[in-house]
Amino acid sequence: MITKLLVANRGEIAARVFRTAHELGIATVAVFSDADAELPYVALADEAVRLPGAAPADTYLRGDLLIAAARATGADAVHPGYGFLSENAGFARDCAAAGLTFVGPSPEAIAAMGSKTEAKAMMAAAGVPTLPGVTIDAHTDLRAEAARIGFPVLVKAAFGGGGRGMRIVATPDELAEAVASARREAATAFGDDTVFLERYVVEPRHVEVQILGDAHGSVVALFERDCSIQRRHQKIVEECPSPVVDEALRGELSGAAVAAGKALGYTGAGTVEFVMDDTGSFWFLEVNTRLQVEHPVTELVTGLDLVALQLRVAEGEPLPAEVTAARIHGHAIEVRLYAEDVPAGFLPATGTLHRFRIPDGVRVDAGVADGSVVGPHYDPMLAKVIAHGATRAAAARRLRRALRGAQIHGVVTNRDLLVAILADPEFLAGRYVRLPSVVHEVPADPVRVAVAALAEAASRRSGFPSGWRNVPAHPQQVAYTVDGRAVAVAYRFRRDGVEIAVDGDPLALTVVSATPERVVLDVEGVRRAFAVHHTDDAVYVDDPAGSAALGRVPRFPDPSAHAAAGSLLAPMPGAVVRVAAAQGDRVTVGQPLVVLEAMKMEHTVAAPVDGVVTALHVRPGDQVESGQALAVVEETA
């Protein structure tokens, strides 16, 4: 029996595992980096051990420190979560050597699936359908192999995951550069620059099967999950069951997945991932030898607790009858709420999450709470929001309303994109969704801007009528930024109501009541109530239809604040990976100068004009904040 469980992970998954452990009566230990010390999961655990530093390589990837933490706290088992060391066979071995129960499959199974090329060969041998491909070494004739496989081809890191080190190549000419950059990314991300080529299925559906195996030889498939909706190869919407899988196909998928599991002698929870084309043909992609991020959708439709089952298997128990008897009840959809700037190309966003509230009626697996700081060090996923319904449409509707009414303040998120997907007729019809281009579900319409101004006016109310004058006077003037654009509000309270105009256009509205936190308006006969939240630099206006973030504009411009002309500012927080120019260099427009890396993405900062680099403020390895000046290029006449 496990008595004390250390979760070698962070954020929402650590919290998720702790909840089940506590229900089972198991004591818990958290580990935390310096950046994570204040996150809710740390407080949720019975004990917590600090991992000094912030970078994953110094903290959550340090198997020695994690095992030392387990020893120090007397933990007898380690749950690796997902990511970090969850699929590291060496760590699983080290745990076993230290006398700790590793909650996961055997090191051998992990190792076998760790190399995608080996995994593929093994699966092919087990009769699981696989895609044509080849591992690249120094002698590979790239063009010839690519021609054999057929364009487009996918370049993929052999030891990677989560979309890192992945490139789609459409023509032979792009091949060499794509392989080089994939190698570079794989080397930094996974410490091994092996990459391989594979047939790329155009507009594939990503369908995966949850499997559970025990030490007594059973492997059970717990249905499929459809994770076809991705951005930059990262899943953002996942559901169970798949809208395109019928009972027959489900049987085929389950059969293939169980065959894969049996071939591995799989124990614990794992996922066999497939790509599927529009005819229902599917090919093996990989086995994730761990709990998946999206496991809650399986839990909601089966009523099972996958973490509890993982622990049970780890304790050597056979899988219980309810696993083999599991059926699909209704439909569940999960969305991943990321701190990221979608219009800016999914750039990771950072900041203080001043408020994080999701309405009731959905499951929220969150790693953050009010006041949490979202930093640049780890995956920017804030939470998973999962809805269950009798039907797919019911689940989608419930999830959409919860997201719309959510209060997520202080950090830019992909919420509007998720809402747009859930409202997309293509999605609702169960067809594959290209990401909608209109992502602003709720623009900051003039009424919301007016609400912000009225709430702020209410916060300054003194007992006298707001802005009272005894002569005809100018209105009160305030301004906000909405998506980077300045919006002016002018208002004046009169005996018979408020006159208010946004960008010069008068609004026909009556203030029913206004406090700093809540404004009720009558807008052309319709009563609407808004919750308002103020932070130092923004005002958030929420109602069940959505949320608007309005940036504050100082009443008086700072006379000294402007950057030197030609300054290149960091578009996101991150680390400088390359500096491709030197001070004094003559550069041409578009020439890359600095390459930043943050959260799985490289971002190139290029010369905006033809000119001379007159200043260079960063070196490789520097950590930079969003908006920090990187270099100055002076335009040549």
């Binding site: 007992g463 009272w468 005996r495 009443r555 008086f556």
Partner: protein, 529 residues
Amino acid sequence: MLTSHVDPTAAEFRANRAHQLGLIDRLDEQLRLAVAGGGERYVARHRARGRLTVRERIELLLDRDAPFLELSTLAAWGTDFTVGATVVTGIGVVSGVEAMVIGHDPTVRGGAMNPYSLRKTLRALEIARLNRLPVVNLVESGGADLPTQLDLFVPAGRIFHELTELSALAIPTVALVFGNSTAGGAYVPGMCDHAVLVAERAKVFLGGPPLVKMATGEDADDEALGGADMHTRVSGLGDHFAVDEHDAIRIGRAIMARLNWRKLGPPPVPSAEPRYDPEEILGILPPDPKVPFDPREVLARTVDGSEFDEYKPRYGTSLVTGWARLHGYPVGVLANHRGVLFSEEAKKATEFILLANQTDTPLVFLQNTTGYMVGTAYEQGGIIKDGAKMINAVTNSAVPHLTINMASSFGAGNYGMSGRAYDPRLMFAWPGAKLAVMGAAQLAGVLSIVGRASAAAQGKPFDEDADRARTAAVEAQIETESDAFAVTARLYDDGIVDPRDTRTVLGIALSAVHSQTVAGRRGFGVFRM
């Protein structure tokens, strides 16, 4: 608790209200003229030079959403000068500090000062001194309106006297200089504790280039003689160099935020709105000032929670006295009910004023008086002595007085009810109010009787037709001069206010007077008259 007996559905109420709305329209029309300053053309020209108008400057200076009580709004009304007298004065909140704001209107004759601007400015400085309000000057004035220098030059020296006296009293003074501040005007930043000069706009010098050329033969330019750059680097007259007007106002607000300002009077307690709608005051006021109305109906729509504890309700009933709170500040109220003041009313008022001084309670005078009663019985009853007691009490009362002329203020009643000469901290009138030594008809009638007696004494014939014409002319003249607009034009009060705003105006005024210590006169006990 006051209970109102007003019926808002009555025809009389509606007629009263219609009449008052007419008066308010007339007021608003004049206020709009004052706000228009030099008119569209000059305002457009001013803006084209990249400058803000004086009211835009004030709006930026004031705290957002805070009230601003503009004073002497109709100064110079009915004269050859622009209504408002080229300067804006008022009490507002700057960075949390209640302050007197004085801003020149450069769209009217370049902000030049005429005798009315001078009186308005001096009154604002006096209010600042009496109530301990920091002063912010928004300076852009071409100086004196030279054709009126005879009425201006000598008394104008008082501005600098007042500014430096304020400083001596540790009442801070700030000058934000947006443009011309030359000759005498140069002493405004010169006499203020803090001076902020706007780059390339402020011109602060005793003599401009032409005068210097004439006086000494020197060729000098504006910037060298009095620019912001020079004054903040060389002469040291300017403490702060502002890059533009907004920057100057930002710096001005920063200065106010650093004053470490504390009001000396006690803070207000939480307050409740009146239980009756102030809007209804308009329906209470009869169009004819000769018709009395119950001031308790006004108080029910003015004081906190409509709660009023009346003092001596059964004695001297022509004057209502009592205690209340207004925006959380305790007040004693003296309000005329049936215009005439008899001996009983005078004695009641005297006692009440003494009591307020014992308890350091500010007094609010709501005037609607035709004066002290005349006639044999009253003279023999000692009305002069009793009126003198009341005037004595009003004069020597040391608590703040706030006075509002609701309808009429005639004769010595004006004095006894803390009229202008008795230094109320602030004094306002409602739009239909009259003020004079006596009513126009009475005054004309008195002159007629005196004329007839004089003719009889000299044995001359009395020309009845000429007397009728003269009487009518005198009555018309006095009627015009008694008008609230004519009174306020001459700075005999601090402005005409909408009756519905009375609670707000008195609240702002009470808050302002509490910047100063609130203490009554001590020495004698309360005389039972």
